[in-house]
């Protein structure tokens, strides 16, 4: 992507008036309704909301894994389909989705292999990526020999393989335990600061969204709509590289958690834990 730095558009993702209707036997389901959203280059944006609010669907539209019923999705000034064909983004899902018959290294190499990267360049890039996610010594293991957190790190390394300017992540830490999850979040902050990629991150955890994001997009269900977009004001630690474990205990962090929680519940202050959304 180095050649594109000079002419890089300032907007990574542009979503305009998007609707998505799924046709089911029980009738049409409005998954998304009049969605407008833009993500700047290098920005970290989380999509949060209860189950069924269409946050994953929205991410899949950006990835061109599904097509919108109406409206347009633009990625770096191209149509979503063109962006997919040009490999403008890297992607990670809730399940790591590793190929069980391939070693860790061979799994990370999959996108490079598919896009014809020469074998020597491939293995050096894979070594670099495994170093980045701290799995260098596990290169020759198979996925079923790794813990869930390690598998997810392999999936993230794979998503980063081609140095995308945009990273799409659909609840990548959703299946991990709390300890591993916080560790992975810190790692993701570091990695995204290192790569400078824009990130669209789907989650249902409020602290996770607050800790990671520059802006949090709060969505409401049936039909899926954007209820609020909250910029994260985290004081001196707002720069992504400066976000460390200490941030989790600061006042600004809690204020932002509260702001997101209240937005999720339609603006009214919430006395106790939010329902339908994880507050951990």
């Amino acid at each position: 992507m180095s050649d594109s730095q000079a002419t890089a558009p300032t907007t990574a993702v542009e979503v305009r008036g998007v609707e998505k209707v799924f046709q089911t036997r029980a009738g049409d389901v409005h998954a998304l309704e009049s969605i407008d959203l833009s993500v700047a280059a290098g920005e970290f944006v989380s999509l949060i909301g209860p189950s069924g609010c269409g946050k994953s669907t929205l991410m899949r539209l950006v990835a061109d894994l599904d097509e919108p019923t109406a409206g347009s999705v633009t990625v770096f000034g191209k149509s979503a389909k063109q962006a997919r064909l040009d490999q403008e983004y890297g992607i990670a899902f809730q399940s790591a989705g590793l190929l069980p018959w391939r070693t860790v290294a061979a799994n990370v190499a999959v996108p490079l292999e598919l896009h014809g990267v020469a074998s020597a360049a491939r293995s050096s890039r894979v070594a670099e990526l495994l170093e980045m996610v701290g799995l260098a010594e596990f290169a020759d293991r198979y996925p079923d020999q790794l813990s869930g957190g390690m598998q997810q790190r392999v999936a993230i390394a794979r998503a980063l393989a081609e140095q995308p300017r945009l990273l799409l992540m659909d609840e990548p830490f959703g299946a991990l335990d709390e300890m591993t999850r916080e560790k992975m979040q810190t790692e993701l902050v570091r990695i995204s600061a290192e790569t400078g990629a824009a990130v669209v991150f789907v989650t249902h955890s409020i602290p996770e969204a607050v800790f990671l994001s520059d802006r949090v997009v709060v969505m409401s269900p049936r039909p899926g709509r954007v209820r609020d977009i909250i910029p994260m004001r985290l004081g001196a630690d707002a720069k992504r590289a400066a976000r460390t474990e200490e941030l989790r205990e600061e006042r600004a962090f809690f204020e932002m958690v509260t702001a997101v929680r209240e937005a999720l519940h339609g603006g009214s202050p919430v006395a106790s834990g939010a329902r339908g959304v994880e507050t951990r």
């Binding site: 061109d64 989705g97 069980p100 018959w101 598919l114 596990f138 790794l146 813990s147």
Partner: protein
């Protein structure tokens, strides 16, 4: 990032009695041999001490005698039946894999092939063998090979088709996100996913191919082959010799089974380890 997450290692899946792996291996080999020897001992005892007559049940010793005496003819018969089975297995497997690939790719093809395969699966070999033998003449092995191919086709087709349908949605999404071509998806995802299913299908087919080729020989066609020799020997009251050919048939079936099992192990260096045992 420091790799603090622990890797699951150490012994797992050891038996309930906590045998060492070495003891377990020894037992796994020794136990069936012991059973075999005991059965042979009882058999020999029944014949030589209790005095069961020789035409009812020839003694193991006499069967071994016949086996050695007729070895050249047994070997020739094994070769004929073996080649028929092998040709049938190879042709049946190739057809099974190709048709399954087509059926997995096009739904219409799947729906057209379903009733045909169901029909093939229930055709009794005994019904088809005389027909094919007279169709292709008394000196052609083609009928027997065709029967073996038909018997092999069904399990390979069914297993392969199932294998082609095992790809996970997350893997398909990934392939789409990578803008992989259909050929790349086939090579990177679909075939490796289906591989264990295809190999299992071939292993099941290997025994069926031998049995079918052998049974087909009972119903005419050229002389030679284990099935033909068994019926000839039995018809001329050479019971011990018939049994010697039966032993050869078992050996042939085992060879086919073990070779395909070996192929399965060889082509799958990393089968997901069994969690329970």
């Amino acid at each position: 990032m420091t790799a603090t997450a622990s890797v699951p290692t150490g012994p797992k899946g050891s038996g309930p009695r906590h045998m060492s792996p070495r003891t377990e291996t020894t037992l796994r080999i020794a136990a069936p041999i012991a059973v075999g020897l005991i059965v042979l001992g009882i058999w020999q005892f029944l014949v030589s001490v209790v005095g069961v007559s020789d035409y009812l049940l020839p003694s193991p010793a006499s069967i071994i005698e016949e086996f050695i005496a007729y070895w050249p003819s047994i070997a020739a018969a094994m070769l004929i039946t073996g080649i028929n089975s092998l040709v049938g297995l190879v042709v049946g497997s190739i057809l099974g894999i190709l048709l399954a690939a087509l059926a997995a790719r096009w739904r219409a093809m799947d729906q057209m092939s379903a009733p045909v395969v169901a029909a093939l699966a229930v055709i009794p070999i005994v019904a088809l063998a005389p027909v094919l033998n007279s169709m292709f003449g008394a000196d052609s092995q083609f009928g027997r090979q065709a029967i073996a191919a038909l018997a092999s086709f069904v399990p390979v087709f069914l297993n392969t088709l199932r294998g082609f349908r095992q790809t996970q949605p997350v893997h398909r999404d990934l392939m789409k996100a990578y803008a992989a071509t259909p050929r790349q998806v086939l090579r990177t995802l679909t075939l490796p996913t289906a591989r264990p299913f295809i190999l299992t299908g071939i292993r099941i087919a290997s025994s069926l191919a031998v049995i079918s080729a052998l049974v087909a020989e009972y119903f005419g066609g050229p002389r030679g082959g284990l099935g033909a020799q068994i019926s000839t020997s039995a018809a001329s009251s050479a019971y011990a010799r018939a049994w010697a050919y039966v032993v050869a048939s078992i050996v042939l079936g085992l060879i086919f089974y073990l070779v395909t099992l070996g192929l399965e192990r060889m082509l799958q260096p990393h089968a997901p380890r069994r969690r329970t045992r």
